[in-house]
Every structure is written in structure tokens, then in C-alpha cells.
Symmetry: C2
Subunit: 182 residues, 2 copies
DNA sequence: TCAATTAATGAACTTAGTGTTGATTTTCAA
DNA sequence: TTGAAAATCAACACTAAGTTCATTAATTGA
């Protein structure tokens, strides 16, 4: 992070520009020219940082998941306890990056973001519940996708629940299903 | 469907070409030129049918979901029973279009496919379980995403379970969670 | 089977964004 | 303050997009 301020600033502005445009259209239709015009950055400057739009997109995504991993790994190393709130730090982190996540999980987002989130959840659930039979695999997939759904809905409504509440809610529906709520 | 044979043929070849290319790369990177070269179709012909790659993609997707809707609606109209296999016709239809669905649900696929599948599942679950409080919303989102996860994992493994078995599995984990399997 | 219709082809063309270069200006860190 | 590095600007060749039109081929249905 000990970077030239100009570099940080340029990338930050370009990132905001891309996210902003992605609220309106899919990445497929977004051009370098468009990103730079909105950011009021010279197009040549863009190429000093990124190969093309997708390269930029990937770098932003990678940065996000590196951050996520760093934050959560350090947390979980101190707390191996199998609580019903073990997903809380994840929900917290996603809430802190709410706007970004909403776009990435939207129809204009990218499958790779969702897939990476699923990967994280998979690792988490294996850590917590273990990996015995391959029979469990289907259930695990149900559950990790389910969590993404929960996250998506939570972020897109008013986010009125706290991360702790959401973690408990997730844990409850994972373990017990929805029967009692019907 | 009472179309000129040439039209059907051209579109079919272009579709195969697109799906085939999508196995290797994301739709973002696919050009009209590339699709036409693989299909050995004149590039001008492409534009007689589609506006651009995304338009083509959307049309294929729309066609798929129209078919899905037609097949399943007619089925459900005769069977309003709330069985634990009410998702069976969906699983059957997806299995019949296995290759297509695998690509669309993969990292090279598009969010809109997943979203449309989610929409269908949402309608289904509301029909079956009702829509009382908004409190249920989170649970419903968990469940519909969970089903997509189940579908994805099922199609990408050996598809050894039958659609009926998958429907029962889904219903079970929706209602009762995974506690008993741990 | 034939005639009218319609789709596909091929070539030419404009347009627009891409990615690069090199000279110049601005900003930064130490 | 100064040397280093980043951002700007203008110019460039290049590639795919999208359109047009004359020509060829295939289809339908009478």
C-alpha cells in the first residue's frame, strides 16, 4: 500500500467510474473510453494500469477477495469455536462493501464474483461441519448457494438486520430448514 | 415455428457455435466474427438475425425459458398437489438441456440466466408455500438460491440421481435443513 | 415442376474503439 | 528543491462492428 498517491487516486477514480457504469449496463458493453470519460482520466493513463476493461475488472475483484480473505482468516484463526455466528465477520465485511457487492451480485455483475464467494463459503462450511461422505456434497451446495441468496436479498433490501442476526438466521435455516416458519 | 428451413438451420448452427465457444471463454470475450467463422456463416447473415452477440445470447435464453415455462405450466395446471416432487418436471427439463445449462451456470455463463431460473423458482415456491409475511422473504431467497446450487452440482457431477430423487432431496433440505445429515 | 419470394453470400465501405508511442507537463517523495 | 515517476495530449495504425447492395441459392406453395 506504500504506493504513489497519484496511482492510488487514479485507480480509485477509475474503479468508482466502472462500478457506477455497471449499475446501468453489463460489463460487456462498457468501453475503456467510457470509463475514462466518466472518470475524467486520460485514456492513455488507463493503459498504464490495466490491459483492458476485463483486466481491470479482475484486478478489482482479486483485490476484494484478498481483503476478504485477510480480514476473515485473521478473525477465524482466533475463533475456531463453532458458534451460530461464525458467518458474522463475512456478513460484516460484505456490508462494509455494500454498493460494490450489490452490483457484483446483480444481473450486470459477473459469475466469477459469485463463484469466488461460493468458494469461500464452501471452505467455511467444510471447516465447520467437516467433509465426510460425498453424499453431503449436494447439501453443501444447497447451503452455500442459499447463503449467497440470503446475502443478496439482505443487501438489496434495507439491510435492517445486523450481521450477527443474519449469521444466526443463516445458521438456523442451514441446520433446520424453513418448515417452522411456514 | 413455421419458419423457413434456412432460418432455422442458420440459427441452429450459430447457436451451437456460440455454446461451443462459451465452453472455453466468457461471453464477454466472444466476437461476432468468431461465432461466424466457427459456424462458417457469413458475418452479414448474422446481422440478419441478431443485433449483436448479446442480443443473440438473450434470444437463445428467452427461447429456453419460454420452452421451460410452456412445459412446466401445462404440467402444473394438471397437478396442483403439493407433493415433495413438485420440482421434478423442472429437474427433468434441465436434464434434457444439460449441456446448455452447465455452460449457462458456469463461470462463463451469464447472470441473467441464473436470475431467470431464480425467478421461476421463486414463483414456484410462492405458489406452493404461499406468501404471507415479508419475514419469509429471506428464507425464500435462501431456498431458491439453494435449489440453483443443487441443480448446478447435480448437472456437473454425474447426474446419477433421477429428477424425482433430486426433487425429493430439494424438498427435504428446504423444509428440514441439513442437521440430520451431519 | 415452376415461378415468386426470401434467405444467404460476398465485397466494399464507414465508423468507433483499441492499444501504442513519444514528447510534454504535472505531481510526488525524500 | 530536485530527480523520478505518473498523467496528459496528440497522433497513429489496426481491428471488429455494423451497414449496404448486387448477386446467388434455397424454399414454399400454387
Amino acid at each position: 500500500m506504500a504506493q504513489d498517491r497519484r496511482i492510488r487516486k487514479t485507480r480509485q477514480i477509475l474503479k468508482q467510474s466502472l462500478i457506477s457504469i455497471m449499475k446501468e449496463k453489463s460489463i460487456k458493453h462498457i468501453t475503456v473510453k467510457e470509463i475514462c470519460e466518466k472518470a475524467d482520466i486520460n485514456r492513455g493513463t488507463f493503459y498504464l494500469h490495466y490491459k483492458d476493461v476485463y483486466d481491470m475488472f479482475e484486478q478489482i475483484e482479486t483485490e476484494f477477495f484478498n481483503q476478504l480473505k485477510a480480514v476473515l482468516d485473521s478473525y477465524h484463526k482466533q475463533n475456531i469455536r463453532l458458534e451460530d455466528t461464525h458467518l458474522e465477520p463475512l456478513f460484516s465485511f460484505l456490508l462494509e462493501n455494500k454498493d460494490f457487492c450489490i452490483v457484483m451480485l446483480s444481473v450486470h455483475g459477473d459469475m466469477s464474483f459469485t463463484k469466488q464467494l461460493l468458494n469461500y463459503l464452501y471452505e467455511r462450511i467444510v471447516t465447520v461441519y467437516g467433509k465426510d461422505s460425498s453424499k453431503l456434497e449436494h447439501y453443501y451446495f444447497f447451503v452455500i448457494y442459499g447463503c449467497v441468496g440470503l446475502i443478496s436479498n439482505w443487501l438489496n433490501t434495507d439491510t435492517k438486520e445486523t450481521p450477527v442476526q443474519m449469521a444466526q438466521l443463516a445458521e438456523d435455516v442451514i441446520l433446520n430448514g424453513i418448515r417452522k416458519y411456514l
